[in-house]
């Protein structure tokens, strides 16, 4: 139990450290990769908490997700290399206050609540994977299916939003569109 607490704490500290680094570095790729390693540290926390499947899944998924984040940062930030030293934040004091209050409140609730007895032993990993599969295709089948359909919808919606507006077919439309665009500016 002590060893487990120690490892959870170590990976938790790593996750927090990388999480802070996300908003403290000027280089955008560093920022995205700091988030990646923060998430990977969280995956290691899951492993330390003996939920092997979820930990490995978290480590795997976040590697790709956050790398994709990195390329979008480079595409859309004004100063991706961070050599100009731009400040990309606003309402700092308010945000820090909100962050501290939220974290404090969450922690206070965690301390005050009576969590009851803690289970010492977790089911072994092979058992967990099996039981999770049975849960997923049994009682939680509908939720699982909903999640899948949600992802599909999101994929289609995101692609539909992201593809460029096609050039109008005939010239009249084009002139009209140009005028609209002028007007909107």
């Amino acid at each position: 139990m002590f060893l487990q607490a120690f490892f959870v704490a170590v990976f938790g500290l790593a996750a927090i450290g990388f999480g802070v680094a996300v908003f403290r570095t000027a280089s955008m790729v560093r920022s995205a990769l700091a988030l990646l390693f923060s998430q990977a540290a969280i995956g290691c926390m899951f492993l330390a908490m003996q939920s092997e499947f979820l930990g490995v899944l978290q480590i795997m998924m976040m590697a790709t997700e956050m790398s994709i984040m990195a390329i979008f940062m480079v595409m859309f930030m004004m100063d991706p290399g961070g050599l100009g030293g731009m400040d990309m934040s606003h309402q700092k004091r308010f945000s820090i206050g909100a962050g501290v209050i939220a974290a404090g409140a969450a922690f206070a609730v965690a301390l005050v609540s009576d969590w009851g007895p803690v289970t010492a032993a977790a089911p072994d990993a092979a058992m967990q994977t099996r039981e999770l599969g049975i849960e997923m295709l049994g009682r939680s089948m509908l939720i699982f299916e909903t999640a899948a359909v949600t992802i599909l919808t999101a994929m289609i919606a995101a692609t539909a939003v992201a593809i460029p507006v096609r050039e109008p077919a005939c010239n009249d439309d084009k002139d009209k569109n140009d005028k609209d665009r002028e007007a909107s500016r």
Partner: protein, 298 residues
Amino acid sequence: MTIAVVLLALLVCAWLLAVIEAWLTTGRLRPAAPLLAGLSHLGRESLLPRKPDRLFFETAPVLLLVVAVLGAAVLPLAPGLVIADLATGALFVNAALAYVLVALIMAGWGPNGAYAMVGGWRFLGQLIAYAMLVVMPITAVAMRAESLLTSTIVTSQAGLWNIVYQPLGFVLFFIAAMALAFRAPFDLPTAPGELAGGVDAEYTGVRLAVLRLARLLLVITLAAATTVFYLGGWHGPLLPPWAWSLIKTLAVAVSMLLAGHYLPRIREADLLGWCWKLGIPLALLNILIVGLMILVVP
């Protein structure tokens, strides 16, 4: 003990692969050449480009090496000869190899060079093409073994190897593995000839030696994964189990080299198109067929 044996096996495989690769390209068999080349790299000056992202530049080759070894850590070479027989082994291979992308993005961004950066981001596009084709065939393999344990996956193939049971999955996984190892014809991130080496371009000396070793080990790890998932792992007549693992792994690695030898480099857009429009439907079909076979054949 197990760790030392597995690491030694990996290094021996990497050395053999390097010798064979040189043999294929130059036509001369020189067993000492890889070692001498590695030593000469150690003696050379390791240049640092101007204004690098030092952290990424230094970490990338080491991360690639660690990731390749971690991927191999869950693959059994013989009964009992595995560093960690995780209950989620088949998934862990993916998780470890997903960090190849991270290492390449670091190697691309770190040295502050245009070619390297293009190479690093290219691999991100390549990942979007191959990632599903790594995961989905493994799903079908795990379905047959009814386990994610790599040792159980091997024992499930005692009667019939997966390459016969699900040939479609094998072909898809083999192609995806080649794309993951960024060997020709999928060597878009390095692309000698158009990107001047890409992510390799700015590395010299010790760092290049580490990077080369990591790439060799990555190929070996993927070949070992193909062996475990599709070629029946250590199963085989007459020879001891470890010998069969070694032979199969090397055969897969060499066939990857040969495929790269005779095929032209593919374009990024074509790769994405084929993988998503042809590969993923085929992978789904493979899962369906395997599922039906499990249901019908007891």
